[in-house]
Amino acid sequence: MSDDHQSPPGKSDPLDELLSRAKWPEPTPSQMARLEAAWDHCRPAARPESRPEPLPEPSRRLRFSAFSGIAAGVVAATVLAGLVIGNALLRQPDVANDVPVLVKETLERRLPVVEPPVIEPSVIEPSVPVLDDRISRPPTWLELALLRVAEQRASRLRQWRETDPLERALTRLVGDPHVDISELVPPPDDVDRFVERIIAELPRSRGQRRMALARLLTTIEPPDSLPALLSLWSDPATRELVEPTVVRLADLETLTSLLRSRLTFADRVRLLAAIVSRPEIEAHKLLVAAAMEPQTRPAALAVARKTSPPTELLFAALADENANVRVAAALLLGVHRDPQVTDGLIEIARKTPARSEPWIALMQRDDAAARRIIEEARRHPQIMVSVNSAEATRQMMMHPVRVGVPL
């Protein structure tokens, strides 16, 4: 049909010929199966059948035939059963053949492990078909049309890459990592859409593109991007890049669970140091909590040694009602770089010599005043017990026994 044809009457419209070539995907068997199942689920039930008509009364002849047939069948079945049972009773068991033969198959070797092919999602450039110039005839109408289709697609892709804000930003970042990233971020009205695109692209991105997406996300720091940032944090390739943003946006509970995840010592120290740099006091309490657990204690001590946390917090923890908190605080005070910490510990030890925690801390200190007070305490029989107990506790905390590890 040509409702607006521009060709003369009697001649077909080229548009109709072109439109007749359009092809859409055919329904797949799985698609049809799903739809049929959906129809089975929702279709109306058929109405109940009307009362069935009674069966016709069988004639006398038919009744007799039926009866005799049934009787014959019963007799035959009885005879057959008798033969089978009698045969079974008379037959001698063949002992030799009764023994089951076990067939054992063992695999000579393991099947090779086949790694699935790594699919690199990327924007695939459509190949532009090239006319073979060995063909001696000019291209047909169809061949020219096909070439134009491929060129149109390639040109649309190029245009999209040049105009789409995210693609432009990624192209520039991948090409020049030192580019001023703030220039690549769109104006506030378009930022939400930009961030949505970044988050949608992240799962299928790899390599430099993924790094570029991570950089953009950490520059914009949208408040609801934490799940995406956490997934980037769990990837060792992008962890260090996004960690400062994660530490800024996540709550302490989330950060505690990150600390407990499988990390290298260096990663854990870096994360914990970033956490305790947060202004709230609870961040430093997290340092004490980390010192309480064997998994995170070495990192906590390293951070305390490096960052010198507030001593008033640690001295307050030294008086906590929870013994584990007191011991953790003592260990942290023991590695604190402030020399005045020794004076504070000596004062507490003199006032309450029976307490082990100040002695634990003093034993960790590496200065002459601490060594002197410990020597003095060892010469006192009453205080010596506390000092020895403190030493045992300190050794246990610094070198915890790990189950399953040979001594």
Partner: protein, 171 residues
């Protein structure tokens, strides 16, 4: 022509018979197999709910397509209209170069049709691909024949412009 409400058993038979055609129609309307499946699924629900209103004034196919068009119009968030995803077929593919290029052309044209504005797309698909008459399309879309002619004219003009580079005179 029967004006009695359809029986549930007959309905079941008719739905199964027309289901592949319904999916094809929805695919042409949406340009997307997943969206087409969603639309047909919703249409089946509506068929089950109001089959008793079908009294045979039109063919069952027309009635079913009318429901599909209504579902298509009711979609609040249409999938992004872009290139069709490649079709999956059970047929053994012909991988010769010319066949692949022809396939590419066919998809490109289908792409253009499925990207027409919705009303133009409905009229284009129903007349050109479902081969319904103008009168039947007007009834299905609950509009006038003049309106169908006008939409078809505008749709064809638009396609002629979009496909102009492909419309070359044959040598």
């Amino acid at each position: 022509m029967s004006h009695e409400p359809i029986d549930a058993r007959d309905l079941d038979r008719l739905v199964r018979e027309h289901l592949p055609a319904a999916v094809r129609f929805a695919t042409r309307l949406t340009g997307h197999t997943q969206a087409a499946e969603d639309i047909v699924q919703e249409a089946l629900l509506r068929v089950a709910r109001k089959y008793e209103t079908f009294r045979g004034e039109s063919s069952f196919r027309t009635w079913l397509f009318q429901i599909i068009v209504n579902v298509f119009r009711d979609q609040p968030h249409r999938p992004p209209e872009g290139a069709l995803e490649p079709g999956v077929s059970d047929a053994v593919p012909d991988t010769t170069a010319s066949a692949l290029m022809a396939e590419e052309l066919s998809r490109a044209i289908a792409d253009q049709v499925s990207q027409l504005p919705p009303r133009q797309r409905e009229v284009m698909v129903l007349t050109t691909y479902e081969e319904l008459s103008i009168t039947a399309v007007a009834t299905l879309l609950e509009t006038t024949e003049q309106n169908v002619h006008a939409l078809l004219h505008v749709a064809r003009r638009r396609l002629r412009e979009e496909l102009s580079e492909l419309l070359l005179e044959k040598p």
